[in-house]
């Protein structure tokens, strides 16, 4: 399974965490498409804690974390 963690406004109308079958998704962009989130709306895409791009491959066991533009200090 792929664990998808959603944060900030991405939680609006969605679960905080989803589990998806890794066989159904080739790239992170496919996961975004499933969630109805545009590639351009994602400010930070982490795969296993590493900053990644939507075209990156995803596999069973991966943890994907998605953030809209947010920040602080």
């Amino acid at each position: 399974m792929i664990e998808v963690r959603l944060f900030a406004t991405f939680r609006d109308g969605r679960e905080k965490i989803l589990y998806l079958d890794g066989n159904d998704y080739l790239h992170a962009a496919d996961v975004l498409k499933y969630l109805g989130i545009g590639n351009g709306d994602v400010a930070i895409l982490l795969i296993n804690g590493r900053h990644s791009k939507p075209e990156k491959d995803v596999h069973d066991g991966d943890i994907i974390a998605l953030f809209p533009p947010v920040g602080g200090g």
Partner: protein, 598 residues
């Protein structure tokens, strides 16, 4: 010709109770902008680097920025500049709220407080009328009590004060203004307390300062406002979630220190995130003077409407102390405001004490009924109170900060500090550039002296690989210099998520009549940073003070997404000195000449 400077400085000597009005030397002001730069220049020229920080010889400069009070976004900040009793080096603590703007409107660019009153006093300023008044009745009182008392006397006043922590000489004492905004770091409140000065209230008739070119300033402000509104972070993320939205980001990259940096990932961190704060406690946004962002949190704390915690505080009282109760963190944050304590260094010192207790260095008896166990709400409340009020032997020791605490027990390596000041909420093992900021910050462990988190974690203005060292020295230097400019202008660092040097140059030039291009402006920032370093050199700083705690260089992160990483500061520090034009941690003669600092 009018400018955003008032052209006047107030010098108050508490020993002989004299009040003098001095002209602001305009050329000096423009060369160092104002605020942080001007305050440092004043102290450097007056020989403060060599004095005992808690003696009457130390001076406190309450400095407004060049654009404080002007019609610019976030133009309302002031800085407390002094010699720090915590680090023994330069302190520059920056705060929002409305107090800074009120001081500017009252007609003053800065107040220099020197000497020591023989008994507790307060200062009241009403435009050009300045009074030194008895304050024995306020001594021992909390920020809220002091503010409420003074606002009853002067309904239009903005109030700045110390709490009990500043009175009892805690080196972690802050200065609070407007009840919940803080010049928090480096023990500036202890310096104020050492002078027997409890509060400064300001009433001002004016509500705006003039500008050198009003039309150009309006245009520059409009352009900046539009960028702030369009930017995802300043226009949407910060207003909606506040700074604590960082909890989940930093935790999910595995750079979120827990249990005094013994680990760097917390599976339960979401319980204390900005999202949770919004969902369960937020009443409304909090805004500082002329702020279009509103990152502040006004929260409901058990029926009381109070200022909520920032990201750093959520982390420091939360995961760093093993606590996952948002309400407890809110309460502890409120206690820091009431007692006048640095809400970063105080919980970080409690976390260090918890590790000392975990390892058996602090005994059960010393805890006097409140064991320093991880995750204990009672521990974070009671030890904050004891530190703030100077109660119990261990509380008084902890009130001197984690370095002195851990050194007392023979384990200074447990103090997660740089130059004796506690580092904030980003593990430099998993974010290489922020390690350079920590190690070389002139005021000790600090993130807002060069916020490398912006490119390394948030990807702004462009993404950098957080684990790489490549180019980080130059990036850090530019961020440090730009930050010195923003601070000296009296604007909020958060505007830099949306604005760059061209926007700041346009605003400053229109306000003050300078004619800086971007390169020249960055040179001014570099000059300020180097002047702070010269102050530290005179204060006795040694090259080896530019370092990170051994844990960051020798102990790989134990678990989480950044498992196995260590700081590569040994590689990046020489690169940083090279780009700075420094040798052995200090500017070369050539660098000083280039910056017109000789």
């Amino acid at each position: 010709m009018a400018t955003t400077y008032n052209g006047k400085i107030l010098r108050i000597n508490l020993t002989d109770r004299s009040v003098k009005v001095e002209d602001l030397p305009l050329e000096k002001a423009k060369k160092f902008i104002g605020g942080r730069g001007l305050g440092t220049k004043i102290l450097y020229d007056e020989g403060i680097a060599k004095v005992d920080p808690l003696s009457p010889e130390n001076k406190l400069v309450y400095a407004t920025g060049a654009m404080t009070g002007a019609n610019v976004p976030t133009g309302g900040r002031y800085m407390v500049v002094t010699k720090s009793p915590l680090t023994g080096m330069i302190a520059c603590s920056n705060s929002g709220g409305v107090w800074g703007a009120r001081l500017k409107y009252a007609g003053w660019d800065a107040i220099i407080v020197e000497g020591k009153a023989d008994k507790p006093v307060r200062i009241h300023i009403e435009d050009d009328k300045v009074e030194i008044l008895p304050a024995e009745d306020l001594w021992g009182k909390s920020s809220e009590e002091v503010t409420d008392t003074l606002v009853q006397i002067y309904p239009a006043a903005s109030v700045l004060n110390i709490g009990p922590a500043g009175e009892t000489g805690s080196l972690l004492a802050s200065i609070i203004n407007d009840k919940d905004r803080a010049a928090g770091r480096s023990g500036v409140g202890a310096v104020m307390g050492s002078k027997n000065l409890k509060a400064i209230s300001v009433v001002a008739t004016r509500t705006i300062v003039p500008a050198y070119d009003t039309d150009k300033l309006r245009d520059a402000t409009r352009a900046a406002q539009a960028k702030i509104k369009e930017n995802g972070v300043t226009g949407s993320g910060l207003p909606t979630y506040g700074t604590a939205v960082l909890v989940n980001i930093v935790n999910n990259i595995g750079a979120y220190p827990t249990h005094n940096w013994q680990s760097s990932y917390d599976a339960e961190a979401d319980q204390t995130s900005g999202e949770t704060l919004k969902e369960k406690y937020l009443v409304r946004q909090g805004f500082c003077h002329r702020c279009p962002i509103g990152c502040g949190r006004v929260i409901n704390l058990d029926g009381r409407i109070v200022g909520g915690p920032e990201y750093e505080v959520v982390w420091a009282y939360g995961s760093n102390c093993g606590v996952h109760d948002m309400n407890a963190i809110d309460e502890a944050n409120h206690l820091c405001n009431e007692l006048g304590l640095d809400a970063i260094s105080t919980p970080c010192t409690i976390a260090a004490a918890m590790e000392l207790y975990q390892k058996g260095y602090i005994s059960e008896e010393e805890c006097e009924g409140v064991p320093l166990v991880w995750g204990s709400n009672e521990a974070i409340f009671e030890w904050t109170k004891r530190m703030g009020r100077g109660e119990t032997a261990l509380g008084r020791l902890m009130a001197q900060g984690s370095f002195r605490l851990c050194s007392h027990y023979g384990h200074p390596e447990i103090s997660m500090s740089v130059k004796k000041q506690e580092m904030p909420a980003y593990d430099a093992r998993g974010i290489q550039g922020i390690g350079i900021t920590y190690a070389t910050s002139n005021r000790g462990g600090c993130h807002v002296r060069g916020y490398m988190i912006s490119p390394e974690v948030l990807g702004l203005p462009e993404p950098l690989d957080r684990l790489s060292t490549e180019g980080k020295a130059t990036w850090t230097m530019v961020f440090q210099d730009l930050t010195a400019i923003i601070d000296s202008m009296g604007m909020c660092l958060f505007t830099s998520f949306a604005l760059g040097a061209p926007e700041y140059a346009a605003i400053l030039n229109a306000g003050t009549g300078t004619d800086y291009d971007v390169k020249q402006l960055l040179l001014v920032g570099e000059r300020i940073y180097n002047l702070e370093r010269l102050f530290n050199k005179e204060a006795g700083m040694k090259p080896e003070d530019d370092c990170l705690p051994r844990r960051l260089t020798d102990e790989p992160i134990a678990d989480g997404p950044s498992k196995g990483e260590v700081s590569k500061i040994a590689i990046t520090l020489p690169q940083y000195y090279e780009v700075r034009g420094w040798k052995d941690a200090f500017p070369t003669e050539e660098t000083l000449k280039r910056l017109d600092l000789v």
